[in-house]
Amino acid sequence: MKYVDEFRDGATARQLAARLAAEADPARAYRLMEFCGGHTHAIFRYGIPDLLPANVRLIHGPGCPVCVMPIGRLDMAIELARRPEVILCTYGDMLRVPASGRVSLLKARAEGAAVRMLYSPVEALKLAQDNPNKEVVFFAIGFETTTPPTALVIEQAQRLGLKNFSVFCNHVLTPAAMHAILATPEARAGALQLDGFIGPAHVSTVIGSAPYAPFPEQYGTPLVIAGFEPLDLLQALLMLVRQLNEGRAEVENQFTRAVTAEGNRKAKALTERVFELRESFEWRGLGAVPHSALQIREAFAAFDAERRFALEPRTGLENKACECPAILRGAKSPRDCRLFGNPCTPDNPLGSCMVSSEGACAAWYAYGRQRQGAVEVAR
């Protein structure tokens, strides 16, 4: 596969790893956070931690829209699905996430709720057209990559004059979340010790590199936008190590083949037309973060499931021993959670970090738990 395989070449990876080992200063530690869950997944899938020198440590950030969704929002989705007139459409990622009372969308489906998995939001439109007597609700999740498709589909629904289609919007924003991480209690107390960020790949193709400028300016943290493939990640790590060695704090773009300063203007304009900022949104692990999420504009109110169904906000019940919140902040590692591995496993997930395939816990469990003694946390 072109533009994929070349960036997965093993021999080049080993060479890059050697370069990294040569340039990393043995007298210091490099604590680098990959914000994006897709990066977390790639890191473990390709065994990247094995290639890094011991003083370059990766901390896994909250860029997993499944992981950061507060249970209360999922409870609302399940409630919607249980209404007899509703067909709830969702991406596969959300099906197994446990909500309050250990119910998931999958369990709700087993109990009779109409829940359908889709690959693309376009399928939800078709479902609405094919089922005029049902209310089709699309459970929209994701960061800025996934938002423009939802916007397109809402505009399309309006053009088609659909009367039975709506969206339960849970789209969230990357820069706001990154700011929130740097403002957590641990961070303020100086306990987080984050030296740099690996910026998300595909979010950045949409928003461009410009929105990351405040990070080096405000916090002195270098940031390198990295492509999705393992060689991209290794190169980005090298670029971060170099910035830190040279005392620089800049936004650099490793993913030049797909990320420009501006991003995708058309996609951004479309998002602007359909969505507006929420005052505040509850994030699992980060608490209430201002201006970090989107809601549907008044002009498209007919397609807003929250308004259409007069949904009551719910506060979900979290397992008290679950360390997802701290893990999502990068303050703890999966192994620090006393539930990790027993009883919390992908079979029996107690928190969202274990359900989502790119949650730190699931990635660690699925790919990395054979590496005894490896600790990836900044203290």
Partner: protein, 341 residues
């Protein structure tokens, strides 16, 4: 009584009630396609002799949707699947039984097509369907058709294949590319729809097995990685034998379109279903010989040694990635779902 309308007719409750209508369904649809000396007797059971050896029996239920797909259908799958289960003991499959649960309203044309496909698969494999049963359930209570097949075979003396026989140092072999069946099924789902040069790999493997056990009777075990894929099946074996495994990603055969489909759906090919492949574990000394024998057979042309069995109390299956890094190949709980993240 007029003949069954195989073109436009559909299954009715009366076809399951044991009377004339059911007799007609059996006569004009099932027995006509599956014709052999046992079915021709029209008894409720089949009587036969078995060649000498230890008797092996296996059963499988098939609830697949969609019923028809490139490379096969529920009928051929039902035949191949049970033949393979029997063959994985190193056995020669001899006879099959087939039970059908039909949903009221299911088109007779589709049923005829499925049964003809079963008949063709059975003929090609040389394993006849000698007895069967049909029931009908009300509309809404069945997914068109469910098929259960049971197979009986014999293992020659001297063979002791079992999933608990793997030992540290043994080699792990795979007969061909993974993921073809599962990706084919997914490609037919709406929305996921894509065109690709892929089809189910559904096939009966007893011919390949016979060649393998004749050349290398010391094979520890055979297993076909069906639902759950290579990754889960290897974990099952690791658990049963109380060992660990080290795989080499580079060595695992994977066709390009299957790889591409897995990439864009976010699926790991290690966990995608296969219906015409087998895993073999054998002592290291015999591995090259076994590989050569497999590659000589049309069903094993792409066979490869994909890893080794190691001592590991934790029973982990691990894999050296294309990078030289190491990752776990975990035992999944449920089926993989396509993901966007």
């Amino acid at each position: 009584m007029s003949r069954l309308d195989l073109k436009n007719g559909s299954v009715e409750m009366v076809h399951g009630s044991g009377g004339r209508a059911m007799g007609q369904l059996i006569e004009e649809l099932f027995a006509r396609a599956l014709r052999n000396q046992w079915l021709d007797q029209r008894n409720d059971q089949a009587q036969f002799e078995l060649p000498p050896g230890r008797v092996v029996m296996a059963t499988d239920s098939h609830v697949i949707s969609p019923l028809f797909f490139p490379g096969g259908d529920i009928g051929s799958l039902a035949v191949h699947g049970t033949i393979n289960d029997v063959a994985m003991a190193g056995a020669r499959p001899c006879y099959l039984a087939a039970g059908f649960i039909l949903e009221e309203g299911f088109p007779l044309a589709d049923l005829a097509r499925i049964v003809e496909s079963m008949a063709a698969a059975a003929r090609e494999a040389g394993v006849p369907v000698v007895t069967g049963d049909t029931k009908v359930v009300e509309r809404g209570k069945g997914d068109g058709v469910f098929i259960t097949t049971t197979g009986v075979g014999v293992v020659p003396a001297g063979l002791h294949l079992s999933g608990d026989q793997a030992r540290p140092g043994d080699c792990i072999l795979l007969s061909g590319s993974i993921g073809d069946h599962g990706v084919t099924i997914l490609s037919l789902r709406e929305g996921l729809g894509f065109e690709a040069d892929i089809g189910s790999d559904s096939q009966a493997l007893h011919g390949l097995v016979a060649a393998m056990v004749e050349a290398v009777p010391q094979i520890r075990c055979l297993r076909d990685p069906t639902r759950g894929g290579l990754g889960n099946t290897l974990n099952e074996l690791a658990r049963q034998s109380g060992v660990g495994m080290q795989l080499v990603e580079r060595a695992i055969p994977l066709r390009e379109p299957v790889r591409a489909a897995c990439e864009f759906l976010g699926l790991d090919p290690l966990y995608v279903a296969n219906e015409g492949k087998l895993i073999a574990i054998c002592p290291a000394e015999q591995a090259e010989r076994l590989l050569a024998v497999m590659r000589e057979h049309p069903q094993g042309r792409e066979a490869a040694i994909i890893g080794t069995v190691v001592a590991d109390e934790r029973r982990f299956v691990q894999m050296e990635t294309l990078f030289g890094g190491s990752r776990m190949v975990d035992w999944l709980n449920g089926e993989q779902l396509p993901r966007i993240c």
